[in-house]
Point group: C2
Chain length 313, copies 2
Amino acid sequence: MIPTQAALDEAMIRVKPLIHRTPVMTSTMIDDICGSSLYFKCDNFQKGGAYKIRGATNAVLQLSEDQKAKGVATHSSGNFAQALSLAARSLDIHAYIVMPENAPKVKIAAVRDYGGHVILCPPTLADRESTLKKVIADTGATAVHPSNDTQVILGQGTMTLELIDQVSGLDFVIAPIGGGGVGAGACLACAYHAPSTKVVGAEPANADDAYRSLQTGEIQPSVKPDTIADGLRTQLGDKNFPIIKSMIDEIVLVSEEKIVEAMRLVWERMKIIIEPSSATSLAVVMTKPEKFADKKVGLIITGGNVSLDKLPF
Amino acid sequence: MIPTQAALDEAMIRVKPLIHRTPVMTSTMIDDICGSSLYFKCDNFQKGGAYKIRGATNAVLQLSEDQKAKGVATHSSGNFAQALSLAARSLDIHAYIVMPENAPKVKIAAVRDYGGHVILCPPTLADRESTLKKVIADTGATAVHPSNDTQVILGQGTMTLELIDQVSGLDFVIAPIGGGGVGAGACLACAYHAPSTKVVGAEPANADDAYRSLQTGEIQPSVKPDTIADGLRTQLGDKNFPIIKSMIDEIVLVSEEKIVEAMRLVWERMKIIIEPSSATSLAVVMTKPEKFADKKVGLIITGGNVSLDKLPF
């Protein structure tokens, strides 16, 4: 079931008071380099430093009063852990976050700063899932998936909704494809509000499961993803894949070198900090410049949460 | 002679069409850490990545037609070289830039990108000055000093003029003090347009010449400055010191550790790239929190030109 326009528009109204309407930035110099007119939708300036608060907020707002009283839970090593904690706190709801023991200390500390209850577990997917199950059994909390949840997808779609409201006449919106939430959200936003704008997915060649899924028509697992774009190592789900499959123009694969080159270009020229996953959008333009020549292109910048101690340059 | 309000206001009108009105950014989290309401005036988003284009543009616009035909010249290893090149190019004027042979290649390349004619020389001040004299003798170009030039000071003052227009009721504006252009400009802007706003200078303890100048009442040389804030190693001049001396509230010295801590805080929390010299403004608040407690404080962010290969973290 593909969510309706009404569902998307309601999500926008619902989350608007609780999120930032992030700015769209431009760079004459990067436009000159790429031969396109690029519009960077900067959710690195979003609360928590990433777009994930949008989906988390929309999901939390959908809970019944009884569910709210029992809280929400997820397992995450990254941005979604922070986002769900932050979204829950703003509504006075408990958030139980299962995190792998080897998660960066700074991320664990950030989740706690945002009021999340951290439960550490061994760093395997099986351990994460079984620990989450136990937490849910113990607390009655509602599980919220970072990307394969209709309310989360609709929440992420508000980023593209804002972008197409801020910049009219876009030929393309390029969105990074990881778990599929932001990509599916971009597809819905354009389909319902800017039908002449095509959505292109950006995916690391070293984590090409969505590309292969689109080719085969079935969700392919993410096998040994080896990419600096750590937000894009996950695979699609049964809620977002049907949307992407039916609405996306294409998925373009980008090399690790192009991701780092694009990230560095944005840092140096635009003076903003974007994470490697976000740089894949610009890397797509640099990889296929002929497709985007002289076009108006919106680039989804998903976040700016990088470890300054582990930079690729 | 302290420049008049009319001179400042005319500079604003003059440069406005050629520069960006840069945004003012805020961070709830950094406000909470510091106990103040901080307003970051972000000239890291200015053309060329720094405020220097303001003064350069104002100086170039003051030239006679004859002077314009012969061009402008300066010696600089840093931001001002790029700024003068860019300002000159936008008005179709030649810019001759004397740079030390050991200047970072990326900075030399950037000056050339902006259309500047680079003349390399040995890396001593004497060589830079003698080479500049020779260039001027050969070309008839007009020398423009990066900070000790009244038109440059007035141009830099437009940054604070914008800030006090964007945020009303500021208790303080904190400006980094290097050569003195931006500090003097801030003093003029507040004196004429926000007389209840005090200007505080930010200076590295390891390059404390302006602090000592204020104490002694006479310009002190910058002796062996050893600070990461490379834009603040220079000393005051006879055009800007009288302004600073008569109008500034105080100069606060900050440690190297606080500069790096402030810079990292801004990168991590605000997702914007600021250079070490800019971080001194926030470092002042972190060094003297009692002075700024519960106050509205404007922080002059001078630029974002850092070498990503040589980060302090």
